[in-house]
Amino acid sequence: MTEKKETREEKKEKETKLEERSAEENKEKERIVVVPGEVIASGSGFLPGEGTRREGQDIVAARFGLFEKTDKIVKVIPLSGVYIPRVGNTVIGQVIDVTFNGWIVDILAPHLGFLSVTECGGYVNKKDLTEYYTFKDALVAKIKAIKARGIDLTMREKGLRKLEGGMLIKINPTRVPRVIGREGSMINIIKDETGCNIIVGQNGVIWIKGRNVEGEILAKKAIELIARKPFIEGLTEKVKEFLHKERKSENKEAYEVKERGERKERKKN
């Protein structure tokens, strides 16, 4: 018993440390919103990173987003918009078509994803691919390659599978890092508090499966809260508070329902 307590305290300490660190880092990195065409740095001392472009001596923002400078590289982090796929990203998609040699998966990107039979992770009878994955199945897959014609997916890795049951929600893909948190801190809080199994796709699709619907809805609400207010300070604390409050009211409701039921029974008796 004492051991358990200690570990819990240790965990808390770790969390607070992590938060402090992230707060410090946030202070160091001054983040400002830039618009396309804005000069964000000049001189040859800087290198243009993602979302930027060099124009003579200046580095210019090529898209709308948050400007970030790390060492020499300047980049623009997107604030809004559709998911732009990157090789190695884990995404959640839905099978929308079955062809003779694979499945076509909608991953909510500018192009469709294609999962070949050789990449599906397991032996498949080629005569009928629908036995394996069929229309409307939700899959967790990894992006293997990006070609002009489409996006090649793979499922030959640990943790990549078909999702059964649960619910899928969609948030803006630019909010995904906040939902996951530093080293998974945010998502772990939601998982612990709601007892749900959650998988976050880089494309903004999130799969939630819990023991009961109430837990799933609570997790959904918490994620939507993060997606709605990604810039407020102390977000982790706010989410914790929110989850505690919701759970309390939920317990109260459940208790009240139970009580009412008991009263009715008493009356009957």
Binding site: V35, P36, G37, R53, R63, S80, G81, H111, A148, R149
Partner: protein, 239 residues
């Protein structure tokens, strides 16, 4: 010196009150509202996304599809909804006004849909539409070189004025006992950074010198508009 007096008492180079707001359509990938006084446009951007039918796909670059329309209640007399000769033309010129700034090669075979709806019309709606669409495209995270801004310059009577209203558009003078139209509308879209024009339309009569003067005034006005657009985009984080 010009003798024309503007009905709302504005200076020649003064625009109506400009409002700009980003993120007005919840389900769109990017959206914006832009208004010149009571000319108000809403733009929603969807994509880049998969393009169907497939024969429209271009393996070199993304397709930009603009759709402009006035809502039935935007004008005094009910406007029949749906495409018309006028709205088809404006959709086309809007597409060509916006495409020079967009980096369309980044998304081959895809499409970007831009829907521009005029909810209140009082002349220069295509300019309000282009301004809103430019903001919405930036909000959707489409790579672009700069923001496009547009304004309609008019030659009303003997004066070159910025941002004309419906009343000014219908300005007439009396000559030999007859009323004749004395207003020329010159809508233009300007890339302020590149110092280029991406749209220039004209219906009416102007001399070459007057046109030069109009373009100079347009460039000056668009510099102010682009600042307002930037401020609107920068407000996104605070919400």
């Amino acid at each position: 010196m010009a003798t024309y007096k503007r009905p709302d008492g504005r200076e020649y180079d003064e625009t109506r009150k400009i409002e700009a707001k980003v993120g007005v359509v919840k389900r769109a990938d990017g959206s914006a509202m832009f208004s010149f006084g009571s000319s108000r446009a809403i733009a929603a951007v969807y994509g880049p996304r998969q393009l169907h039918p497939q024969h429209l796909q271009n393996p070199e670059k993304c397709l930009l599809r603009c759709y402009y329309d006035m809502l039935p209640f935007s004008v005094a007399e009910r406007k029949r909804p749906g495409p018309s000769r006028r709205s088809t033309e404006i959709s086309y010129v809007t597409t060509s006004a916006l495409s020079p700034v967009l980096k369309l090669e980044a998304f081959p075979n895809a499409v970007i849909d831009v829907y521009i709806l005029i909810i209140e019309a009082d002349a220069s709606t295509r300019c309000a539409g282009i301004n809103a669409a430019s903001l919405a495209l930036a909000h959707a995270g489409v790579p672009m070189t700069e923001l496009v801004s547009a304004v309609s310059i008019g030659k009303i009577g003997d004066a070159i004025v910025a941002d004309i209203t419906k009343e000014e558009e219908d300005y007439k003078i009396k000559k030999d006992g007859k009323e004749i139209k004395a207003a020329t509308d010159i809508p233009m879209a300007i890339l302020s950074r590149a110092n280029k024009l991406s749209l220039l339309q004209l219906d009416g009569k102007v001399t070459l010198d007057e046109l030069k003067e109009a373009i100079a005034l347009g460039k000056k006005t668009c510099k102010k508009i682009v600042e307002i657009q930037k401020q609107a985009l920068k407000k996104v984080k605070e919400e």
